[in-house]
């Protein structure tokens, strides 16, 4: 098994080096590792692979809303050179262009909103489709068969649902947990499936994008504070058992604490997923930097190992995000002071 794997990785490395030589031979180390950041960041087109001069990409819609021009819809291929697939000021369309850093710009400098279906938005739709299909088909089983034992997708979904309900929601929130279970379930499945799909070759780094994690963190922040009861707010503004002069210090700290909680959620998921992707890609980049078969074998082994770790991280991060959300909700709806 192991020997087969080593042989395969040697072969694979050989193939990769042969293909990549014409692409990278001319450039320096920057070009050889540039694909890492290119993968981590969002883009207006979905780039899968480049064989020599053939770019395998999926052009994506570029949607622009501006106060003066209204809604404009283009394709990302309208903004790039047909041969090199490079973005640049020279390839603009109708007063808009995408610069070298993949930022949409307006030639006259007026303000606009970029609503493009970028690589991550497309990935978001894919994740939503996959998750919606999984969960809805599981739900249809329950609607059809009632309380009978779960079959198919339902038997895959059910233990996770029960885990989130009993181990996360019930334990962290307490008796009023039922209201929050659907949100926690959606959160868990979205992050988990997003993480797993992000690990697939050619996929976008959706859950490792700060916009995505920030949105989820803000939703949690709103949910927590909307459901905060009297005791929760009293704890923030009139912390019990603290002398009044000290409140001058404690209250600002508590208020900052309200915001650091979702901030930590946002940063944790973003960093964990992005770092995982960077490490995996860095090991792949080693092959191009050293252009050596030995490194290729080691890299393949390491990448396989890291992928397995990433499977674990994908689950753990989904669990942690959901658990902390549940704990913050639990703190906001708790009836008694826990000291």
């Amino acid at each position: 098994m192991f020997r087969k794997f080593v042989c395969l990785s040697v072969l694979f490395t050989a193939a990769l080096l042969t293909f990549s030589t014409p692409t990278f031979a001319s450039g320096g180390d920057e070009d050889k590792t540039g694909f890492i950041m290119h993968h981590i960041k969002d883009s207006h087109e979905w780039h899968f692979a480049t064989f020599g001069h053939t770019h395998v990409t999926l052009p994506l819609p570029v949607i622009i809303y501006s106060a003066d021009r209204g809604l404009d819809v283009f394709m990302s291929s309208d903004f790039q050179d047909h041969d090199t697939h490079k973005f640049g000021e020279a390839y603009g369309t109708e007063g808009f262009y995408i610069d070298e850093h993949d930022h949409l710009q307006r030639a006259d400098g007026a303000s606009f909103t970029d609503l493009s279906i970028t690589k991550n938005v497309a990935m978001l739709f894919l994740v939503i489709l996959v998750m919606g299909y999984l969960v809805l088909s599981a739900a249809s089983h329950y609607k059809k068969h009632g309380v009978k034992s779960p079959k198919g997708i339902a038997s895959f979904i059910e233990p996770i649902v029960i885990f989130v309900r009993d181990e996360i929601a019930h334990k962290a929130i307490g008796p009023k947990y039922k209201k929050f279970v659907p949100y926690l379930l959606t959160l868990f499945f979205f992050i988990w499936i997003g993480n797993l799909m992000g690990l697939m070759p050619g996929a976008a780094n959706l859950t490792g994008n700060i916009a995505v994690t920030a949105t989820l963190a803000v939703l949690t922040f709103i949910l927590v504070n909307v459901n905060g009861n009297k005791e929760y707010w009293k704890h923030v503004f009139m912390t019990p058992g603290v002398p009044i002069p000290l409140l001058l210090v404690i209250v600002p700290v508590e208020i900052i604490g309200l915001f650091t909680k979702p901030f930590a959620l946002m940063v944790r998921l973003f960093v964990a997923i992005t770092a995982g992707h960077i490490v995996i890609l860095a090991f792949i980049a080693l092959v191009f930097i050293f252009e050596s078969y030995a490194i290729g074998v080691v890299s393949t082994l390491m990448v396989t190992f890291l992928n397995v770790i990433e499977l674990l991280v994908a689950t753990i991060q989904a669990y942690v995000f959901t658990l902390f959300t549940a704990m913050y909700i639990g703190g906001a709806v708790a009836e008694h002071e826990h000291h």
């Binding site: 950041m37 981590i40 960041k41 969002d42 883009s43 949607i63 850093h101 993949d102 930022h103 909103t113 970029d114 609503l115 493009s116 279906i117 970028t118 991550n120 938005v121 978001l124 739709f125 939503i128 998750m131 919606g132 969960v135 809805l136 599981a138 739900a139 329950y142 609607k143 009632g146 309380v147 979904i157 059910e158 649902v161 029960i162 309900r165 039922k178 279970v181 659907p182 949100y183 379930l185 959606t186 979205f190 994008n209 700060i210 916009a211 995505v212 920030a214 949105t215 989820l216 939703l219 973003f270 992005t274």
Partner: protein, 164 residues
Amino acid sequence: MDLILPSSGLIIWQLIGFLALLFILMKFAWKPILETLEERESSIDNALKAAEQAKAEMANLKSENEKLLQEARIERDNILKTANEASVKMIEDAKQAAISEGAKMIENAKAVIENEKKAALTEVKNHVAQLTLEVTGKLLRKNLSSQAAQQELVEGMVKDINLN
């Protein structure tokens, strides 16, 4: 695009997408799934409780049966015992009655025999006496017609007295 600067487009799409997913799943998936799970859990709980109850009832019934059986056995034993006693007593009584009846009958018979005997004896005595009287009369008339005979009789009598 920047790594740590969230882009507005993705935030908007993420917000729309996630909220849409949340509400669709909430209404069409999580609600039925969670309700069914709860229903199933409660039905399992109920079934377990019912089984436990049935088991307890069975045990109860069994012990009740046992008790009934025990009672029946005791009753049977009692009945047998009393029947036995009654039969023994009846036999004893019958025996006693037979014995006493027999004794009575023997007594009666004896009395009758005695009476008959007495009557017979009396009759015989009377008869003998009569006969004796008749014989004696005849003899006397015949033998005592002479002085010598009378003498002889007295002498004979005296002789008898002496013999006695």
